[in-house]
């Protein structure tokens, strides 16, 4: 495994992504619905989608660092 990728895995830096994910999810969901219930449930779905996407990208990079 690439040691540079491991070095990039400083979890304290990843915390800065959390407020952005929350805000992006809430604002995007709020542009799609009018009431708070649907906004919050849609925001949760988008948040999960963003985190999943980040995990997939991480796994791809990890795999590339393993083989390349």
């Amino acid at each position: 495994m690439n040691p540079l990728l491991l070095a990039a895995l400083r979890t304290d830096q990843l915390w800065y992504a959390v407020p952005l994910i929350v805000v992006v999810s809430l604002v995007y969901a709020a542009t799609r619905h009018e009431e708070m219930g649907p906004i919050l449930s849609h925001a949760l779905r988008i948040g999960v989608w963003i985190v999943s996407f980040m995990v997939v990208v991480f796994v791809i990079l990890l795999a590339l660092s393993w083989w390349v």
Binding site: L20, V23, V24, V27, A30, T31, E34, E35
Partner: protein
Amino acid sequence: MAALLAWLVPGLGHIFQGRTAKGVLFFVCLVSTFAYGCYLGGNSELGWGRVVYVAWRDDDTRLAYLCQVGIGLPALPAIVQASRAKKGKEPWWKGLMAPPQPEGFGNADELTTRALARQPSLDTLHFRLRGYFELGTAYTMIAGLLNILAVYDAWGGPVFPETAKKEDDQDEPQDDKTKEEADTP
């Protein structure tokens, strides 16, 4: 009007339209993101909000501001500071959102260079703030871009209320029945 208000202050356009909950949500989310970006991109010594500034020079073309200005009023002090510098006057508010000092090889005129002589250079900002300069830039840019979405939402007006739509769907068959009853002799 609502779109203009929504650009000027995030959420204000929605409150103007009577969509108070959404307006408050937009205001809290976007202004706090922008404020946190300004906090990350500055300190008490260098001045706050150093990541939000207007500069269009050979040595520093600040394209990020085009995204940051989407937040409206909170990003407008940067224009005030840049126009003051252009007139040869020193920035206000302890350098809040003031452009960095030109570094000699840009196309800044003499007045601007003299006005910004006491401001930190871009090199100094990067050196002192390190990664937080980029983080602050990202936060403020994202806040500005998200407010453009909110402005579009205010411009489009409220969508048809979901509960009212369901009620209408339930009402329609009943209306058909009453019509049929009326048609039968």
